[in-house]
Amino acid sequence: MRIDLRVPLARARGLIALPAGAILLAFIVGAVVMLVSSPLVTGHFDPSLPLRTYAAIVEGSLLSVNALVDTVVAATPLILVGLAVGLGFKAGLFNIGGQGQFLMGAVASAAAGAALAHESPIVAITLSVVAGVVAGAAYGFIPGLLKAYTGAHEVVTTIMLNYVGIQVISYLITGPLRAQGASFARSPDVQNAELPAFLNVGTGHEAHIGILVILVVVPAISWLLYRSTTGFEIRTVGANPDAARYAGMQPRRLVILSLTVGGMLAGLAGAIEILGVSGYMPAAYATNVGFDAITVALLGRATPGGIFFSGLLLGALRAGAPLMQVKAGVPVQMIDLLQGIILFFLTADVIVRYVFRVKAARAKLDELQTVTRSYGSGTGKP
């Protein structure tokens, strides 16, 4: 696969050394947390708990075809939403709204899928996916518009919209979209809009065709960022919005564009989850994809190639989590904690350097300065 051949090899090495060190340290700290909390897990102090936990994760994510499929299926939305967050970073925006955009995409495709449940699969699938993408795009467009024209910082508005999204979905699923005769509040099955599986059919570990989208989207976003003039504009706005304005670019348009395209990607992820995995939308959809995606994007240094690999890594953690809970008794929330710690060591790279004697240059996301700079004071005026 050709992803980002433009990145020089030396830089790539630097990019890998620090994240790898950060992940390793996070697993060590996670092990300590499990050790300390082992009396609560098993009823007594259990020094083997961390090892059993990590073994279960590896088994559940890597050691069988089923496990590998689970990993890729779990990684798909993480990569897509990770790209949404990463694209925001490139434009100097911190899109914490991946969660809401994902959920809106999910509910829209569930609604479309239910309405088109008896159409031909091609029509049903296409239109349902489009519905999800459009809904996600709309939910990304709102904070983009607010940021561009009022200066309301996207960190706060996207989080607020995440909470608003939960209420919108609760209303839709308990109200107009509620399936008749279901034992709990959920939308009807999408039936013909379901994404067909091509591997492991009927095992509960199916590989649906949605995962193939990644093979198109990752190179496409990479092309957009590094080969197209629009990508150059997005990166310029992210690195220096004043210079972008000076150079005749339109920061407002680019801010809206970046968040809208991000919303499309997150909405697509939501549609794929509904149409490919669950088949319907419950009133309270439990997911942490929006926050996982932040880890994915930062771990991948906001580059599409990096996000691809870090998405697979986090997908493995998520795929291995259920077996971890069953075999070691450790709650899946451990994965949330591990992610936070990975991010911590990624940011506190001085520790990683000290422990592993890494000499790689500090790989900072320059665009991040814009995220913080624009905080509370709005974007540059046109």
Partner: protein, 534 residues
Amino acid sequence: MTSSPGPTVTAPALEMRGITKRYPGVIANDRIDLTVRPGEIHALLGENGAGKSTLMNILYGLTRPDEGEILLDGEPITIKGPSDAIARGISMVHQHFMLVPVLNVADNILLGAETMANRVFLDRDEARRRIRELGQRFGFEIDPDETVGRLSVGWQQRVEILKALYREARILVLDEPTAVLTPQETKEIFAVLRRLAAEGHSIIFISHKLYEVLEIADRITVIRRGRVVGERLPAETNEEDLAELMVGREVQLVADRGESHPAGVLLSVESLDVGDDRGREVVHGISFEVRAGEIFGIAGVAGNGQDELVEAITGLRRPAAGRIRLGADDVTMADPRQAHEHGISFVPADRHRFGMVTSFALADNLVLTDYYAPPYARRGVRDDAAIAARAEEAIREFDIRTPSATVTAGTLSGGNQQKMVVAREFDRDLRLLVLDQPTRGLDVGSVEFIHRQTVRKRDAGTAVLLVSAELDEVLELSDRIGVMYRGRMVAILDGPTASREHVGLLMATGGQETSPGAPQGAAVPGSAPGGTRA
């Protein structure tokens, strides 16, 4: 005052011996010796990057020297930080004022040396009283309650000096104190400095302006590339001698700009009103014209509407009223892209903020304003080969010193960064060149290079609009000079015949003190109505 009064003032108040400071790749200070006597105004002369600032940062405790010692009244001391320096009576007025704009005068002066009513609360009444008293003693009365951001630069400088006096400084370092002042304000500050010296304060006066140094200093130390290259008394030297010491070769003090041969009017600005970010009108009814093949310089103290005027012409800011025409085209409402396509090139004052993206490769920065058009892109797709070829060409032609075209622009030196911006903006099909502070903070070599290129563009028939807070630069390059004062163009003068004093007076007062009919410099044919005092 700890030193005994009387005529025996030969004992140095401050001695710096063998100060050495190395940075990776450069020696900023190489065994520098400096001796300052009580009551002496001691000038430290050197061009940008010669090591003056490093030396003073060492004295002020902001930087540690690698070698050398500092003696105060003959006692060796170590200075651990600014508070240490202040406690020993050393104060510094930085070139970029260290004032908090949103706080008032009293709070700025108090900061770090607070007068307390009790352990927690400030005694602002006592502070105000002392500030007024100090101001009276040194001949400038100031309102302690005025917000600093609303003061003119001249008065902000006085606040900086008051800050030092409030801390009972004995040794006062002033870093390029006149860089932003008009000649008149400079005179006033000089009077204050003389008064301070007469009261026994020692003053270190850092500058690269030769005539000022000759005027104010009791003694002059010249440094070049981190070394002391000479010490002079003003009476025993002259500008040529000092310039040669400072630069290390003979320099032409005035650029050879030659005769201009202007053609027809290219840029015409009519009754332009422009507002600032807060919506206040800061440019009022400005009219002027720039002809093809001439350099039109705008002189004025910073903050008199020049920035907004330039932004309006280059499309970064919408004018509130009036018209801007370029040849036959109306560009009043053009955005930056349209202005660019009309042939307006712009070298912005703050190159880090506007002119470049420090994290991008040099090659990408060289196409920052042209990235979207052939040959660098076609139908929205970049042509990396064309961009790389352009970079190689620009690096060669504009002598940009860089290991390659792929290094990030932030790693280049200031002079090379500006050459990069100049290469991009000068080397294209253009009609109007707008230069805003094009040589601020650059070394003499880069300044000469940019001035030569500017004159070359003029001679090739480009209209050049030059804005600079450095009056010397405006005088040196301009064929005609417009003076801006409080948002108005108060005079338009002939460049070669305009006098420093006269332009300075106009910058400082807007010419209010000259009665109508008094000489205003040579009248210029073709200057627009309203171009002289509205």
